[in-house]
């Protein structure tokens, strides 16, 4: 009996040992799951791209998390501080410096040094806005992923009805055209969103106004010190300029309740022909063209795009865009890096995520633009990085919010352009002084 049990025990033990020995091998083959926090609205398209990644990398599964751009910063920074952030994070061009400086991203220099040549279309050196990917310590904290800029889209039929042959090239000319369209057609001219929120569109338009003629809010002097580039008078001038569209009535007061450049109200205004001009990134322009085609099959599109007006510096807008980074708490760095490398390849990612342009020169040069979007490559050629805004001490969100609040006060008649311009200048100058102390 004891002997039989012993034999049975031996067999059972051998089986158990074999199972235990086999376990690590089977575990090693089970896929590693990484999390990817994605903030754009194109979730189904991105999921399709991630499915392709999983197919090409069977040992990696990607759990896509969603959050709005408005909430992503505070959510991510909290998680990064407590070691619970997703492996791969989707951030904007303005964030790597402050995130990297706060140790909320993993430096990528070792990975780029190893794999840079295989990245994107022509390798790491072909990516642009790489300066914005650096932290204050000079290390690279993110990989530029997509890029865009704002361009003016206009309704050619309304321009024709108003007797305007060319898109204006000066700021005064743009206002004249806007006024003329309203007077002759009864439609809105430049219907820019004039509402207040933390990330209002007016921030971009005021910067374009400044940059076309001189420096922006923050500039760097010859000694490398950050200084105020805009005077109170220039701030007042810009606020008065944009306010005149509202007081003269060619930007309807209903736009005081619209804050963002891609708001449905603005898209509908362009689609219905109630608004003659809008300024927007290419993703929104593509949305307008797509919806127009759906609603008017076979009909000619009444839209064109053109660069914003300019001054002595020409027409200058900013490179906007998205980057991808790895959180400092990621335990799956290699898998996260594999995903980033995959997503920066135009094929297949941008076949699905096709409203966006990869932030690589080769990809931009080879991108085919619809005829109506011809203004975008022209505007991109004259776009600039945030420069001293991104490298300087005052966080862009602070200035963005302050500019929007000041403009909102002027647009509703609470403050004069002069008072708001002076206060806004003081607010940013005070913050600059505090942070440089």
């Amino acid at each position: 009996m004891r002997h039989k049990l012993g034999r049975r025990g031996l067999v059972a033990g051998a089986t158990l040992a074999a199972a235990l020995l086999a376990a690590p091998a089977s575990q090693a083959q089970s896929p590693v799951t990484i999390t990817f926090r994605f903030n754009d609205p194109e979730a189904p398209q991105m999921r399709a791209a991630l499915d392709e990644f999983e197919k090409a990398n069977p040992s990696i599964k990607v759990n896509m998390q969603r959050i709005s751009w408005a909430d992503m910063q505070q959510q991510y920074l909290r998680e990064a501080a407590t070691g619970t952030a997703p492996d791969v994070v989707h951030i904007s061009f303005v964030q790597p410096r402050s995130f990297g400086g706060g140790k909320a991203l993993r430096p990528l220099d070792d990975l780029i040094a190893r794999d840079g040549a295989q990245m994107g279309v022509k390798g790491w050196n072909d990516f642009f806005a790489r300066d914005l990917a650096e932290g204050p310590d000079g290390k690279t904290y993110a990989v530029p992923w997509t890029t865009d800029t704002f361009t003016m889209m206009y309704n050619t039929e309304l321009f024709e009805q108003a007797g305007i042959k060319e898109f204006p090239t000066t700021w005064a000319g743009l206002r004249d055209a806007s006024r003329q369209i309203h007077q002759r057609t009864g439609k809105a001219g430049w219907g820019f969103p004039a509402g207040s929120c933390a990330t209002p569109s007016i921030w971009f338009y005021m910067n374009y106004y400044f940059w076309s003629d001189g420096p922006g809010w923050i500039d760097k002097d010859a000694a490398g010190k950050y200084v105020m580039g805009v005077t109170p008078e220039k701030a007042t001038e810009a606020l008065a300029y944009y306010n005149s569209y509202i007081t003269e009535g060619h930007n309807p007061r209903s736009n005081l309740s619209v804050c963002l450049w891609g708001a449905p109200e603005l898209v509908e205004g362009m689609l219905t022909g109630n608004t003659a001009m809008a300024s927007m990134p290419d993703t929104v322009a593509i949305e307008i063209l797509t919806k127009w085609d759906q609603r008017n099959p076979g009909k000619k599109r009444p839209f064109m795009t053109a660069p914003h007006p300019g001054g002595k510096n020409g027409s200058v807008t900013n490179f906007g865009g998205r980057m991808l980074g790895i959180s400092p708490n990621s335990k799956n760095v290699e898998q996260a890096w594999a995903l980033i490398k995959f997503l920066t390849k135009p094929d297949p990612t941008f076949k699905h995520y096709n409203n966006y342009t990869p932030a690589q020169r080769a990809a931009i040069d080879s991108r085919a633009w619809d005829a109506e979007l011809a203004g975008y490559p022209k505007q991109l050629a004259n776009s600039r990085s945030w420069g001293p805004y991104a490298t300087g001490p005052v966080p862009i969100p602070f200035m963005w919010n302050a500019v929007g609040r000041a403009a909102g006060s002027v647009f509703i008649g609470e403050k004069t352009a002069e008072a708001a311009g002076r206060e806004l200048h003081e607010t940013i100058a005070r913050e600059l002084a505090r942070l440089q102390r």
Binding site: S196, A198, I412, A420
Partner: protein, 303 residues
Amino acid sequence: MHANAKGFVAFALVPAFFFLGAFYVYPFVFNLDISATDLDIFQLRDGGRWIGLENYVELLTSPGFRRVMFNTVIWLTVVGVTVRIVLGLALAFLLDSRTIRAWRLSTLTRILLIIPWATPPVVAIVVWRWILDPRVGAANQLLMWLGLIDQPIPFLADANWVWPSIIVIITWNTLPLVTLTFMASLQSLPGELVEAAEIDGASRMQLLRYIYLPHLKPAIIVMAMMSTFWTFNNFIYVWLTTGAGPGTFTNVMATEIYIKGFIDGRLGYSAAAGVVMAMIMTAFGMIYLRYVAARALVEEEDR
């Protein structure tokens, strides 16, 4: 008390003290500590630098502070709470009236009254934003159809309309609780008291002044105090309705704390604003309880 009983009481109080300490005292002390630093949201891993009372000095001397306090105290709290109490009283009298009872509408009106209360604030705000939208909103469509306006009004972006609009939204969502509280108090009023006064020839105004309002006084006092605390601290109604705009026109203490902490990234400054806010409410609560509530409730007991 026997030593064993004392021990049991102490033991029974441990969970209460633990939760008070963990969820009230510790966060408050932690917040107080942060308020004396320059901690910003990008440096969470490193922590902030000790700067003493600088945040408090900056807050109390900042040009926008007076405006924020005016919005919080006058518009949000005084106007908001007063409208709620007055309308709540009026509605409670109406729904408790003999006419409503005679028409057998009591149950229906109470169900209708509960609907706004059962609506989560976020949902209520989204619905109201649609109603007040200048392009497609029902309010503008109705006013234009009636011929009262010829241009839509951007209710939430117009200086003349934005505060009244916020007050309407808050009132719609929170009025039922106030009304139901007053109705419950009204229903506890002995009927013979009213009948006796009526037999003595009391007019409706005299009934209101000498019978109903004194009876409702404790409920009004408690509801006014609770509404003041809820409203003064409230973030969601203003933030989701206007984002503290247009400009800073509807910025209140709670939205200022959020903007400074999570948009400007200045968590230390934001914590200081939170401490100031808590101190204001503590002072209000103490004064209110000492001079208003206590006196009124003692009078009520003496009657």
